[in-house]
């Protein structure tokens, strides 16, 4: 029953999309405003795709195993929360979520851009609906969440236990608003090219959408990292894994884009560059999806891959890329720039320059193994040491520019008081020395990174002081830039001061290292609704302060599907996290335990949240000014 309802709604959406394209096309040819019917059609479209998704959620809640998707990804014993979250925790359901975001953004863009030319708005709508159709066809013919299975199984296969986590329940929706939100400025960019709408008011039509998608993308990446930290049990939060990179690539493009947009809005420069960035962002989102869902890359996060999906996305992607390039070449006109070498415009270009460097490095590292594998049959791995070696030295310089850039004036800048930067630099070097003096020394590169991060933080703080005096405060920029400085600082310190110990330990045994002792005091076997757990009780004692902490790592044996997972025990505080994992060693009564002390973890998360807060402040102030 639900299956039929879902399929009908999907078909209805196809018809609605075609209807919108037809109506918009007709409306283009006549004068006057945008036809009221188009608004209604667009609203119905969003509503019906949401209902379609609700139908799927209902199928998950009542465990309707006649649907293959529900059968493969759910289980009647699963807690209700994860039954619901399971709806978008799989390939088919997540595509439906994609379509929802595509449709809602399409509707809202139409509603909120009444001041822009009619032709531009209608064309954006048409392009967006072509994208929607592309995804609907993909859903219907390749990844239909409403496909039936017969005979109807009595029980589902269950959701991969490591996906049963609150962070992972909200991670995909956040990330998709970012990823898929980028579609609307892709469509707008194409519409702008076709209708020659290249005035600076074009920037007003897209800038808030860029900001929204950027904020959500950042949050999505953050939640994904937090999940990886809690759930994957290695104590890190970023592994430069292909799937992680896929989420980072559009982020770089978005970041470059909203910086360029500032210049475009103010000075009417860089129109084509802005367009290219709009096109690149969504293209990279789809590329990321292709890499993740096709299973072409080996990743720790691969949960839904299938080659046949790859082919479809690849065709879709190629059409997008060739279409964009073709249009771009047709419409490209040489622009007249009048830029001063020392001006805000130049500094924004510098931001874009670094963003492109990061983007190309990460893209290259992600896809290079595919090429070596195909061309030479030699499989290589490109992992953290590569990215760290290439990117971190450049970050040092980047942070300095990030501190200086926002202070520059439009058109022609002059840095008035150069001495102040020497003072800031001296302060940063001094603080860095203090850290070395009171704690421990670290590598030359780490020194440079800490110093440049401190430089950015101190100079942002001085901006606050200066702006408070003049009563003209650009909070959004200052908070985001300063928090980025803090982020790099905390990641650096976290890396430098992490402590990691690995032992094989027996019940009752105690191990000592540095000023800690660790004892395996007890093992407990417990039965839960959908798994069994061996729970260890380990005591960590700080010998100096005689403080003790009890940590309870678990080995879980899930019954549906039958899997073994290792749950880390984490004791979080503002200064440091204790992170402990335990695993059994076959044919022995020893347990392998891995203890880590990770300083300042909480502050890494807080820094990213503050970066996003800056984005939202800018968004609200934009909304207020309009």
């Amino acid at each position: 029953m639900l299956s039929n309802l879902g399929n009908i709604l999907l078909f209805l959406n196809v018809i609605l999309s075609l209807g919108i394209i037809y109506a918009a096309n007709k409306n283009l040819k006549i004068s006057g405003g945008v036809d009221k019917n188009i608004f209604q059609l667009s609203l119905i479209q969003s509503t019906s795709i949401i209902i379609c998704f609700l139908v799927l959620i209902a199928a998950f809640i009542i465990s309707d195993f006649s649907l293959i998707t529900v059968y493969q990804n759910s289980h009647s014993l699963k807690p209700l929360f994860y039954k619901i979250a399971g709806t978008w925790g799989n390939h088919e359901g997540s595509l439906l979520l994609w379509s929802i975001i595509l449709s809602i953004f399409s509707f809202l863009f139409l509603v909120y851009n009444k001041n822009h030319p009619k032709k531009f708005r209608l064309l954006t709508l048409i392009i967006q609906n072509i994208l929607i159709l592309g995804f609907l066809f993909f859903i219907l013919f390749n990844s239909n969440p409403f496909s039936k299975i017969s005979p109807i199984p009595s029980e589902g296969l269950g959701l991969n236990p490591i996906l049963q986590d609150p962070a992972l329940a909200i991670h995909p929706p956040l990330l998709y608003v970012g990823f898929v939100g980028a579609s609307i400025y892709f469509s707008a960019a194409i519409a702008s090219l076709i209708t020659n709408y290249s005035e600076k008011s074009f920037s007003l039509s897209i800038k808030n959408w860029v900001l929204i998608s950027w904020c959500f993308q950042t949050l999505g990446i953050l939640v994904g990292s937090i999940w990886a930290y809690y759930e994957l049990g290695w104590g890190g939060f970023w592994f430069w894994d292909p799937v992680e990179n896929a989420s980072l690539l559009p982020w770089f493009a978005m970041t470059a884009l909203f910086h360029s947009l500032i210049v475009f809005e103010k000075r009417n420069l860089f129109y084509f560059w802005v367009i290219i960035l709009c096109l690149i962002t969504f293209t990279l989102s789809v590329t990321g999806t292709f890499l993740v869902r096709s299973g072409i890359l080996n990743s720790v996060h691969t949960f839904a891959s299938d080659p046949s999906r790859g082919v479809y996305i690849l065709i879709f992607l190629s059409l997008m890329i060739f279409g964009s390039i073709f249009l771009l070449f047709q419409k490209y006109k040489k622009e007249n720039y009048d830029l001063n070498r020392n001006s805000k415009e130049t500094f924004v270009l510098v931001n874009n320059w670094f963003m492109m460097f990061y983007l190309i490095t990460v893209l290259l590292g992600t896809i290079y193994p595919i090429f070596t594998d195909a061309l030479t049959d030699n499989k290589i791995s490109v992992g953290p040491p590569f990215y760290n070696a290439i990117i971190f030295p450049v970050v040092v310089v980047f942070l300095l520019f990030m501190a200086l850039g926002p202070k520059a004036k439009w058109i022609k800048n002059k840095f008035e008081n150069i001495r102040i930067y020497f003072f800031i630099l001296t302060g940063a070097i001094g603080l860095n020395l203090a850290i070395i003096f009171f704690f421990k020394s670290y590598s030359l590169l780490s020194n440079f990174i800490i110093i440049s991060a401190l430089f950015l933080i101190i100079s942002s703080l001085m901006d606050v002081a200066k702006a408070l005096k003049k009563n003209k405060l650009d909070f959004a920029r200052i908070i985001s830039h300063m928090s980025f400085g803090f982020l790099v600082l905390f990641i650096g310190l976290n890396d430098i001061f992490s402590l990691e110990k690995d032992y094989n330990i027996k019940l009752g045994e105690t191990k000592k290292f540095e000023n800690y002792s660790i004892q395996l005091q007890n093992l407990d076997l417990k039965n839960y609704k959908n798994y069994q757990a061996v729970i260890g009780k380990l005591e960590i004692r700080n010998i100096n302060s005689n403080q003790t902490n009890i940590l309870n790592p678990e080995i879980r044996i899930y019954n549906k599907p039958k899997t073994l997972t290792y749950e880390a025990a984490i004791k979080t505080s503002l200064i440091k996290d204790y992170y402990l994992t335990m695993s059994n060693i076959d044919r022995s009564d020893y347990y392998n335990i891995k203890f880590q002390k990770k300083p300042l973890m909480a502050w890494i998360w807080i820094s990213v949240i503050m970066i996003v807060v800056g984005g939202f402040i800018r968004l609200f102030s934009n909304a207020k000014n309009n």
Partner: protein, 121 residues
Amino acid sequence: MKLNLLIFIYIFIFFSKFTFAAENTVDPNQIHKNLRCLVCQGQSISDSNSDFAQTIKLVVKDLIDEGKTEEEIYSFMSDKYGDWIVFKPQFNIQNSLLWILPYIVLIFGGFFIFSFLKKRQ
């Protein structure tokens, strides 16, 4: 003048501290992190609990005891198990583009911006 002197002192202390810090010890944990667990999905030897990972950890320990450097251990591993096992791709002809292209982009980008602005002074 005072300021310059201050900076000079800082820089001096900073570098001397650094040179004192540079000890040459091989950290097995670091090496485990840079080796891929071949039987797992995208995990490093350090994160994995598999038999394979346990074996590699023992091999690494032996190699360190033999006095091998970090780089020697990586090349030993990639000779034995293929390039797939090391997370840091070796710098050779096949991987030259991977290592060099980012910097070409960086230099070219900087050059582009610079020449672009110079023309329009």
